[in-house]
Amino acid sequence: MKTIGKRLYLGLCFLFLYAPIAILIIFSFIESKNRATFTGFTFKWYQALFHNDLIMRSLWNTLLVAVTASILATLFGTIAAVGISGMRKRMRSAMMNVTYLPVINPEIITGISTMLLFVYLKEVLHLELGFFTVLIAHITFCLPYVILNVLPKLRQMDPSLYEAALDLGCGPFKAFIKVVVPEILPGIASGFLMSFTFSLDDFIITYFTSGSSFSTLPVTIYSMTRMKINPQINALSTLMFLFVLVLLLLMNIRKKGHQSTARRRA
């Protein structure tokens, strides 16, 4: 009895989570533009999607920003985390507060405040809003996630390891690469992944900082949802869902593979 209740509850929750996605997928194959009728099976929205320059360009922009921002934020954030871990208590807690600001601040406030700065910079330096401003904004909101993932790993690490490497004749840089980095690698990796995902998915901050001629996929999607009918949105959603599904399945299989090899080794 209890398990049936549990199953039912889980089923309802997942129905709730997946119903809108299922609807989008179904509609992506329906011919009529009109959302109220189901007629005809078609692939034409997919064809139209691939010929839609705006969407393809936005997709490319999104990937470009996400890759660059997450790599730069990871590098920069790891170094910063090492620096912060070397600070004295008061300085460190001040720094942590600043680091938490973009995390706890509502996104809209981060968005409008950086927009104010960029508009000001534009007047002074003629820096146009576009790729670079979006990149800077993304790096800024990714940095805290990298730092917050790396810091605990640094704290767990035995500081004498690094000192031992120095005593054994390593230079500080080499010691860092050879000893510290492998220890904190899981933190770096999850920081990078989080940065990449957040950057890929960000709408609000990009919306405020992207200016006239640069738009990422979420911004384009937003303007599409406000216009007249456009079933290409459904096709796009379906493809994105499939992509994510495949990606997660692959990751899952890889993980399982790892575990089984690990078990075998043991």
């Binding site: 533009k33 009109n34 959302r35 109220a36 139209a48 927009m115 960029f118 508009v119 910079l121 534009k122 007047e123 330096l125 003629h126 820096l127 146009e128 809003l129 576009g130 670079f132 405020f208 200016g211 006239s212 001629s213 738009s215 303007s223 406000r226 216009m227 007249k228 009918i229």
Partner: protein, 390 residues
Amino acid sequence: MKMRKTVCLLCSLLTCFALFSDSVSAAPETRTLRVFNWGEYISDGSDGSMDVIQEFTRRTGIQVDYQVFSTNEEMYAKIISGSADYDVLIPSDYMIGKMIDEGLLAKLDFSNIPNYRYVDDAFKNLEYDPTNEYSVPYTWGTVGIIYNKTKVTEPVDSWDILWDSNYAGQILMFNNPRDSYGIALKKLGYSQNTTNRDELDQATDELKKQKLLIQAYVMDEIFPKMTAGEAALAPYYAGDAVTMIGDNPDLDFVVPKEGTNRFVDAMVVPKSSPNKDLAEQFINFMLEEDVALANIEYIGYSTPMSNVKARLDEEVQNSFSYPDDEVLSRCETFVNLDEETTAYLQDSWTGVLSYGDSSIGDILFLAVFFLFLIGIVIYFTVKKHRNHTI
């Protein structure tokens, strides 16, 4: 010492930006024209029509960066905030007047726009640009009521029907102050361009009364919602109505007897544009007969060029897209209101949209909730304290 280091770093950072921005503005050898237009307001090549943007690039080799907006105010915010730059804008009449008054637009060199001679005289020297130095008309049209004949059986001829409680939850309304107040003022029999506070306040009351009946405040979404039969009544543009009736024959369109807004959307060039020559080339291109015809056929709005109108189907020429003088005599064109009135309108509109919120129940709920929260906090702190003392 530390301070100086920080300052140094900041400076170098800023120089970096300066360098970046230089390289950005110097890099593109091929110049790009940035066009900012209403959504779905240009022939885009679907269903065998001409892809106007591509055609321009093909004829001139100039790349076009094409972006869209959904209200005049949204377009204005992008320009004035400095967050975006464009070379050609296509706003409506009153917004053009406002931008001229604020010195945001560049005077056009009409020798670069020889096709301007095809524009009818009736669309030259209009109120928003009296000496016609800044703008070239693109389309015009009227605002009327689009309604679903299966849901509305009585004859529709007045704005009053948008206040009819029989259609509660079935009415859509414009989500911008100028258009919504325009309708409310016309319903009351006042001018759409009134600056009289008393008349505006009456309109505010009307709109608040109407709010209970409104399904949604939207702009372009009126198009899909009406064609899908989501709502029974909505104000919309005559030009789109042609397309919508084509998609859903249950729909019909009428210009109310109280009169309405006749708008003109025109092409202008902002002062900040570094590509004014290209912009003028683009405007001239848009006035080419085949291009203008493709656009008008695609978007369904009315053309200010009689040579283009003559090539449209007879049926279209006689449709409500080209109303007769009797209808036009009941229309008004928006003019730019003074800053104070605009701000007043905007504030009142926010008041309309948030009307009916925060009943005493809501506030009570919040108060009880926060008291509860504070109670929990106190409970835990006391408990913690006790544990410590033990």
